[in-house]
């Protein structure tokens, strides 16, 4: 009985843990100013509010939150062509390009308990803007038509409703890693930790709490 109580207490504590820790928010304030600090507090509060909600509500909440960030090209933002910013950098600067939205939304949703194999980084072509674009897709089941979280589109629509997007390729670093592990089990072959260059760099940056 006592053990169960302790477990409940621990779970409560875990649930109470904010998405972005206070120490990191202090560092963010130092670098990006009081406004940035406020944004992260808002994020923590928003995510905390979503914790007990359904997947769809979580998707909508996170999508709405991050779509408020300004769109900027990587060139203007980071001085390089294609840079995958960490969620901290993205919200810290309060600007980013399509991948940065996808990344930030992905990690927020993962934090809210949505499994990795339901979320994909989808490389698409935007017919409307005539450019390469990336959106976050949510698959309730592997073969279902996914829901699309797009920074240009405030609504979360099903993929077949998005005639303006042509799918090219799906990617999920975590899922790839887990799936290839699973798929190759029992084979005596060496597996590298590396899977995808941009993804690997991103994971490394997140681990370092790059902001």
């Amino acid at each position: 009985m006592a053990r169960l109580l302790l477990l409940a207490l621990l779970l409560g504590l875990l649930a109470a843990a904010p998405y972005i820790a206070d120490a990191i928010i202090t560092a963010i304030e130092k670098k990006y100013g009081v406004a940035a600090k406020e944004r992260f507090f808002t994020l923590n509060t928003a995510l905390q509010a979503l914790e007990a909600k359904s997947d769809l509500e979580k998707l909508q909440g996170v999508n709405d939150f991050y779509n408020r960030v300004l769109y900027t090209s990587d060139m203007q933002n980071f001085g390089m062509h294609d840079y995958w910013a960490t969620p901290l950098e993205f919200l810290g600067r309060n600007r980013g390009d399509c991948e940065d939205y996808v990344i930030a939304k992905y990690f927020a949703l993962r934090h809210l308990g949505i499994p990795s194999d339901k979320l994909y980084f989808s490389y698409v072509k935007s017919l409307k803007y005539r450019e390469a674009h990336m959106v976050l897709t949510y698959f309730p089941t592997p073969k279902a038509v996914p829901l699309v979280l797009d920074n240009y589109e405030p609504r979360i629509l099903s993929a077949d409703q998005r005639k303006d997007l042509i799918p090219v390729y799906n990617f999920n670093g975590d899922a790839l890693f887990l799936a290839s592990r699973k798929g190759e089990q029992g084979k005596a072959i060496e597996r590298s930790d590396k899977t995808h260059k941009q993804w690997d760099l991103l994971i490394e940056n997140i681990k370092r709490n790059l902001l």
Binding site: D117, Y120, S122, T137, F139, P142, K143, V145, P146, A159, P167, V168, Y169, N170, F171, N172, A175, L176, A179, S180, K182, G183, E184, Q185, K187, I189, E190, R191, S192, K194, T195, H196
Partner: protein
Amino acid sequence: MTLFKQITLLISTALLLILAAIMALSFQNASRALHEQLYEDAQNTAGSLSLTLGTAQGDAGTMETMINANFDSGHYIRIALHDLSGTSLYERIKERAKPDVPEWFVTWVPITVPTASAQVSAGWNPIALLHVQSDPAHAYVQLFDTARDLLLSFSVIALISLLILNALLHTVLRPLGRVQNQAESILQNRFVLQDRLPFTTEFRDVVRGMNAMVLKVKEIFEKGNEAMARNRELLYNDPVTRLFNRRYLMLKLPELLDMANERGDGMMLLMAFEGAQNVNQRLGRQRGDEFFRRLGTLLEHQSARFDEHIVARINGTEFAIMLPGCTADEATQIARQLDDLLALLKEEYQLEPGDCAISIGLYRYLCGQDAGTLMTKADYALTHAKAREDGNTYLFESKDDRVAMGKEQWRGIIETSLTQRRIALDFWPVVTAQSAAVIQRVVTFSLHDAQGASYPYGAFAAEATALGLLDELYVTALEQLLRRIDEGSAGEYSVRLSGEFLRSNVAYAALERLLGEHAHRLKHRLAFEVSDTMAHKHLDLVTRFDALFEHFGCRMGINQFLGQSSDYGYLQTIRPQFLKAEAAFWLDLSDESLQALRLMTDTMSITLIAAGVQTPQQLEALQSRGIEIIQGPLAQTLADEAARRS
């Protein structure tokens, strides 16, 4: 192990270890880079192929064709397509072909190729996972080449480094060789100064130390030499004329009268000077002395052509001239010339003819006589010369009871001895006074005629020289000796070499040949001795022979040492191992002179030996002067007794 070898070993080992480590690291880096490249190739293919597969929109046949097209390029050992649950959809595996490198290399350097994976989509949906694994065969070849190149270049670098190291060490350690040479020279009593101080501090200090020591030894030597010369002058010279005195003459006579003396018989001129008082009165003390000095020079001049001649003033008015090898006729002529020269000298000093005069007794002496007889006979001749009315010389010849032989007879005996190899070798023991142990045998040789009569060296040397057969006799005798000494018999043999033989043209080559043939089995068993006179008169020649003897491991000694030289520097040049002098010489030497001589000989580790020791009393006296090794009749007696006892 020399310092050079040790340092070389140390540095070489360190160098090779470092090179090996660098090589291992380089190889590891190359290997890692190859691994990475293999993986990246696989990853690139996985990425691009998965994109291509996406265009098939999930059609299995199209996807298989696409995979085949990639796989058949031959760069992969495996391409597999799995659905999301991990079930295999399609797979191509290459039978692992043996890489084109030696088997041991493959076992030694295992290359494990990681698998790269990518997701495959159809439309919006991810449908499969693609796994790609590169073929390491090419990587093996590349790695093998790298290893071979590394090994080759490192071998070359190691070789060059070792060569440079060797050259550097040689340069740095070259002074050490000189230091070692100097040290060895000092050990062999050769006192060499090293002018060039080595660059390396440690070596420099050592050289400084050795130089200082050598200088000290030189100083000791010079002091000893000076003292010897001073004493010799006081002891053996007439203070006015600088001629030798009676003491010296008496010491030298036994050697001249020795049966083995190569000059053979000779003449003694005993000259009495009358009117010395008149001369001194007329000329005064100083010019009187000068007059006698001039007279001495005249006598010396007249005798100069006879080797080993002695001119001595034996008292205030008598002069003795020893002319070895001189005939009665030659001596008579010299006496006549002396008379004329005196007349001229008197004129020069404006002396009246009647003021002074000389009388000369000429005596023909024979080898084997004793000094006392010689002096008596010469006195007898002088008395007769003084008494003559019609002249001032008198020639007296001892009756020669030895068989007088003509040239032809001599030729017969010598040639027979040569052809029949009938040269007798005579051995004279050299013993230590304490134990009577024979430490050396002096070798001389003699001839025998058909009747069994024996002729010592002195008897035939002059004749053999005249016949031009002396060299041959010597060489034959030496050859006989060298053949006779076998490895079994112990002890050293010391061969007396006459000056006559050494000065001949064939001696050097003959000795070189004989020693070349025999010396290897007679190491440290052979010694050669030459006379003091020979050594200081023909130092260059003796030095050459000394080097020859040293080369063949033979020792060398000086005999008949008599302090005729005013400089004993020659001892330093030829560095004899022993010094032999007549017992009388050792006993006659002043304490100071002996001390000075010992100072020199002890520094150079020269053994002092007394020759011609006759009586136990003599031996006792010699021992009290620190001379412990003797030869002569007493040595023979002691050796015989010792042999009988054992």
